[in-house]
């Protein structure tokens, strides 16, 4: 059970958040209304997707106060706990891409196919492109095609043909590229990676305990962030880490664990 601790916690979090949103629409619960683009917590606290708000801002629209405050609150929250924690703890697409990644490993596609041919920086280009197009076209460009918003809206308000987009992402991750959508394409994840550059909660690696089994690297959706494995004791500082905790789950020797960044620096200095 210990080896699925964070995975289970994440699934419970993802599903609970989803249930709160659905409950708000179907039964009128007041805890979390709206969807991942913008919501209202307990009917008081506004929350908003910073990348969506930025796209709206560059169209030249006069922003409503609620979405400005909402975007600041969300940025601050993920800026502290790890930007891409959104990706692995909240985003519903994560369940789909994780499933595709798991199937890919089980069916050993990665051993037959070329695993990586996209560039990790592709998502930052798409992020920039989304802002550029929003400014030129006068409408939030990524929000019009975003499969994440589409999926989430679909689950809360009725799916329409939105299931098709999710199927495409699933098949892309399963058959075309390992962790293709979340790891290479999604500009929303990229925006949270930028927000979380300096976040405090980080995975810490203790090289002394490491048995070099490489299980953590196998399950990690952002393998580059684990470059220090079995080499040096340090925390994962790259913003691309989603704080999903799968590496901590699978580690047999307790060489990985969550920790707070500033304390780590201090303890390193003392050594």
């Amino acid at each position: 059970m210990k080896h699925y601790r964070y995975l289970l916690m994440r699934r419970v979090t993802q599903l609970s958040i989803m249930a709160l949103y659905i409950g708000a629409n179907v039964w009128g619960w007041k805890m979390l209304q709206g969807n991942l683009s913008a919501s209202s917590l307990f009917g008081i606290v506004p929350l908003a997707d910073p990348y969506a708000v930025l796209q709206i801002a560059v169209t030249g629209a006069t922003l409503g106060m609620d979405i400005i405050v909402g975007a600041l609150i969300v940025s601050l929250f993920y800026g502290v706990i790890g930007g891409r924690a959104f990706c692995s703890w909240v985003c519903p697409v994560n369940i789909i891409t994780d499933t595709a990644g798991w199937l890919r490993r089980k069916m050993k596609f990665s051993e037959v196919q070329k695993r990586f041919f996209l560039n990790r920086s592709l998502r930052y280009w798409i992020l920039g492109l989304g802002l550029g197009l929003s400014a030129v076209m006068g409408v939030a460009a990524f929000e019009l095609i975003s499969p994440i918003s589409m999926a989430h809206r679909g689950l809360v308000f009725g799916m329409g043909m939105g299931g098709g987009a999710l199927a495409v992402i699933f098949l892309f991750d399963l058959l075309v590229h390992e962790n293709g959508w979340c790891g290479y394409v999604c500009p929303l994840g990229a925006s949270y990676a930028l927000i979380g550059q300096f976040s405090l909660i980080r995975v810490y690696h203790d090289a002394v305990k490491c048995s070099d089994c490489r299980d953590c690297i196998t399950v990690c959706p952002e393998k580059e962030v684990l470059h220090m494995i079995n080499q040096s004791s340090e925390s994962v500082v790259m913003g691309e880490c989603t704080n999903c905790g799968r590496c901590v789950d699978v580690c047999q020797t307790d060489a990985l664990g969550f920790s707070i960044r500033s304390q780590l620096k201090q303890s390193k200095d003392e050594e």
């Binding site: 708000a24 629409n25 009128g28 209304q33 709206g34 969807n35 683009s37 913008a38 919501s39 209202s40 506004p46 908003a48 997707d49 969506a52 708000v53 709206i56 169209t59 030249g60 629209a61 006069t62 922003l63 409503g64 106060m65 609620d66 979405i67 909402g70 920086s121 280009w125 798409i126 920039g128 492109l129 550029g132 197009l133 030129v136 076209m137 006068g138 409408v139 939030a140 460009a141 929000e143 019009l144 095609i145 918003s149 589409m150 809206r153 679909g154 809360v156 308000f157 009725g158 799916m159 329409g160 043909m161 939105g162 098709g164 987009a165």
Partner: protein, 265 residues
């Protein structure tokens, strides 16, 4: 070692160029889609919505207005509906806007796409929400399929209108065909009509003979060239009018000279 800086620079420039090239291609496809996706002139928005062009800039597609609506009037556009995806709209023939006096859908809007001031009446700096100020669309009657214009007695739309006797009135005229009956035709008044769609919902014909169109589609604009001289308030429009002089070859000379100049004609 000597060649390394050059090759690094080449690699950097090349990867930059590749990024730009791919972006340009992506932009082409993406913008084509966005251009088509945002063009939906036939969609009806919730009360207080900004003009369509501004509305789709502002709307963050959160659905808080949809959740606030007690009648399930509003829904968010799904993929495949040919409405900018995720934006709120309503279909009056199915569920019209029931004109709640507290307009629950507007104050919850976090993005300003639904504007509270546009549906507020200000009395001594105190704002109260006033749903009758909403302009969601305009009811338009197809006289061909309206049975009242045939001479059959029907006032379903007139009775359904929440601004009874104001937004829709009944106009009497003689039925020359029978010689002894009257036509009781509904007439819509655009200065009063909110576009709630209760008339369209109530219409008895197979496809509604009265239907709500977005105001930008249903209405024309006179411009400054014509003024109701008998209406003092309409004269005010003259204040904003500009004098335009059209010069053609004929108007170079005075009218008389032009007419007298037989050769020139």
């Amino acid at each position: 070692m000597k060649t390394e800086p050059t090759s690094d620079r080449r690699r950097f420039l090349l990867s930059l160029a590749r990024g730009i090239g791919l972006s340009a291609m992506g932009a082409l496809v993406w913008s084509a889609y966005v251009g088509v996706a945002k063009a939906a002139p036939l969609v009806l928005r919730p009360p207080g919505a900004l003009k369509e062009e501004e509305f789709i800039k502002n709307c963050i597609k959160c659905g808080l207005c949809v959740e606030a609506c007690p009648y399930d009037t509003l829904s968010l556009a799904k993929p495949g509906e040919n409405i900018p995806m995720g934006t709120p709209y309503f279909t009056p023939r199915e569920i019209p806007c029931y004109m709640c006096s507290d307009i629950p859908c507007v104050p919850v809007c976090p993005s300003g796409a639904l504007s509270e001031p546009s549906v507020s009446r200000y009395v001594e700096n105190h704002a109260t929400l006033e749903i009758n100020l909403a302009r969601m669309g305009l009811a338009v009657i197809d006289e061909n399929s309206c049975i009242a214009t045939w001479g059959i007695q029907c006032d379903a739309c007139y009775r359904a209108c929440p601004l009874l006797g104001q937004a829709i009135t009944i106009e009497y005229s003689k039925n020359e065909r029978t010689g002894k009956h009257a036509f009781l035709k509904p007439v819509v008044h655009p200065d009063q009509c909110t576009g709630c769609g209760m008339c369209e919902h109530a219409c008895v014909t197979e496809i509604a003979a009265i239907h709500i169109l977005p105001r930008a589609l249903a209405m024309g604009r006179v411009g400054d060239h014509y003024i109701k001289g008998w209406d003092p308030s309409d004269e005010k429009r003259l204040e904003g009018a500009k004098i335009e002089v059209t010069k053609t070859k004929l108007s170079e000379k005075s009218v008389l000279d032009t007419l007298n100049d037989a050769e020139g004609l």
